[in-house]
Symmetry: C2
DNA sequence: AAATAAATGAGACTTATTCTCATTTACTGT
DNA sequence: ACAGTAAATGAGAATAAGTCTCATTTATTT
């Protein structure tokens, strides 16, 4: 896992430093979207707060980190890995869990057609989109009692 | 417009106060999604900061205000009016403009089917969804030079 | 008009993120 | 391996969005 982290950094010509390795390892190990709070606690103070934010910005700059805001306004990040294809997110409004969701190809095709229309109508160049779904996880969630 | 504001408040059994009227008027007049910053400057100090946030919370509580975060992390609000049907949003990553977008009925139908599947797969009860599109407004935008 | 509960304004407070700057670390070329 | 240099880090100060407190004002009910 530490080797994966080094590889990711060198492949993007970013210098290999301890804080960067630690942050990448934590993200790789968790494997799911994670709030910055949770990430900080996984790091157990091994990386200074200021450095953590800097590292996350570095990862955004090289386009391997996705960041978004959950409905309870916490910031969530996730690594964008090569094998990790285009997907969307499902949020539990109760416990804050964030789940990766892949929607069908037909759906994405149809969405792209809609996007085409919107581009024309508003004279925009649309580069990205997001589908978010909100609700409650009914059972088997360790956080929601 | 002041009468519309009064009507909205009384219809929701919320007491009619000056700050509430002023905020509603500003939102009605602007007519589009607006950042809290912009809203504050439209109000020109007529409503205290603390009161503005309280009023916005009141409007959320009676379900006539929608709030979301734009890609530059500013908070955007919009009134939910009766005639204003289900829609989505298009964001300009350059100037921060937020535009209301209605997608086709066929698309929404298909999205609801996808949501059905996701509900089953993850044992969730999904109550809401959002489609967001990001890009650049190419011309005729007063903010993007 | 008086009584009462609710709403407001002003500013203190909280807290996520950014910034500053002195020190440390990683990379480059020898 | 080593020195030189630019980049990265840690610690904590600064910033700013949003919340909270509390004394005063206002809306609503009688
Ligand atoms: Mn994801
Ligand atoms: Mn809208
Ligand atoms: Zn849950
Ligand atoms: Zn623009």
């Amino acid at each position: 896992m530490i080797e994966d982290s080094r590889k990711i950094l060198s492949e993007h010509s970013v210098s290999i430093t301890n804080p960067r390795i630690l942050v990448l390892e934590a993200l790789l190990e968790f494997g799911n979207p994670i709030t910055i709070d949770e990430l900080q606690s996984k790091l157990k103070g091994a990386v200074a707060k200021s450095t953590l934010y800097r590292v996350l910005n570095d990862l955004k700059k090289i386009k391997i980190l996705n960041e978004f805001t959950s409905p309870d306004n916490s910031t969530v990040v996730e690594l964008i890995l090569e094998d990790h294809s285009h997907h969307h997110h499902l949020f539990c409004s109760d416990c804050g869990e964030v789940i990766d969701v892949e929607l069908s190809e037909e759906f994405e095709t149809m969405l792209n057609k809609e996007i085409e229309n919107v581009q024309k109508k508003f004279n925009f160049e649309i580069t990205d989109h997001r589908v978010e779904m909100f609700g409650l996880c009914t059972e088997e969630c360790s956080n929601c009692k």
